[in-house]
């Protein structure tokens, strides 16, 4: 049953990704070059709606947060490495599947590369776990915890800041 829900959710998400063109190489490179902010508009809107909805569910006792640990070594180094690879490939892991679905064959080469990258990471994991992944480990941390504020004090501010940022992008024609 869980697998069927995964498939249905993926199909709906794939339709949204494809019809808003955020899975296109040209759009992803456009975002990295700060020329076309379509994917930033999509992602930020998703994050804001998701933030409000998920915290409502949590407060109603209908869902649990899935917080990942903040490990600066892994997040900062991994982010830099991911960014370099993303710039070369022009698709991220989820969107490479979407790009393949709309006929982009270069996504297949990217997917093959990602399988190799995943395999290499699995090889390196025992070493990384005792080195990089111990640097700056703050455990599971949320922004409300970090800032010492109640989440419903911060959430309206994030919404206002997100809206202001999107308006700014819009005015600059990005």
């Amino acid at each position: 049953m869980e697998l069927i829900f995964g498939l249905i959710t993926g199909v709906l998400f794939g339709i949204l990704l494809q019809r808003s063109e955020v899975i296109r190489y040209d759009r992803q490179l456009g975002a990295l070059l700060l020329q076309d902010m379509t994917i930033v508009k999509f992602m930020l809107t998703t994050i804001l709606v998701g933030m409000v909805g998920v915290y409502l569910l949590v407060d109603l006792g209908l869902a649990k947060l899935a917080v990942k640990p903040l490990i600066l070594g892994g997040t900062v180094l991994g982010g830099l490495i991911f960014g370099a690879g993303w710039g070369l490939l022009g698709y991220c892991p989820g969107t490479s599947g979407g790009a393949l679905g709309e006929g982009r064959l270069d996504a297949l080469a990217g997917i093959a590369g990602m399988l190799v990258g995943a395999g290499l990471f699995a090889e390196a994991y025992p070493l990384l776990k005792t080195t990089v992944l111990t640097w700056g480990d703050y455990g599971k941390l949320t922004l409300p915890q970090l800032m010492g504020q109640h989440r419903w004090v911060l959430i309206p501010w994030f919404c206002v800041l997100g809206y202001a940022f999107l308006r700014w992008l819009h005015k600059r024609g990005l």
Partner: protein, 133 residues
């Protein structure tokens, strides 16, 4: 004319908000948050299992992320199918080996594009897993 109107992209704010609602529904109904990169680890493990099953079974990372089909695996398969259906229905499905922007800058060579995409994919996935993304 028909083709261009049918191919008009959806507003990214509306599509993004719908994706947010989809995420909230998913968390509510199944408790699952969206992600994709763990699936590539599981798939890599499944491929490696075909040649070295015992080695895979002994590797700590494949113990952490077992090589099996789970919710997220089907989510990623769904993205491929959903994108395929949406592109065919809207007339925007197009078989293309080299993206326009890449071809304009680096030439139309398929080998060069595939090489860069493969390398980029390997680097991006290593970074994504290191950042636990």
């Amino acid at each position: 004319m028909t083709a261009s109107t049918r191919a008009k992209p959806w507003n990214p704010y509306i599509a993004g908000a719908l994706a947010g609602l989809l995420l909230v529904l998913s968390v509510w109904i199944t408790g699952k948050y969206f992600g994709a990169s763990t699936t590539f680890v599981r798939a890599a493990g499944m491929v490696e299992q075909t040649v070295a099953a015992e080695r895979v079974a002994a590797m700590p990372y494949f113990k952490k992320e077992a090589p099996k089909v789970d919710w997220q695996w089907m989510f990623v398969v769904g993205i491929v199918l959903g994108s395929c259906a949406a592109s065919v229905a809207s007339g925007t499905f197009r078989v293309q080996a080299v993206p326009d922007r890449f071809a304009a800058r680096f030439g139309p060579g398929t080998g060069k594009r595939f090489g860069v995409a493969f390398l980029g994919g390997a680097v991006a996935m290593f970074g994504a897993r290191l950042a636990d993304g």
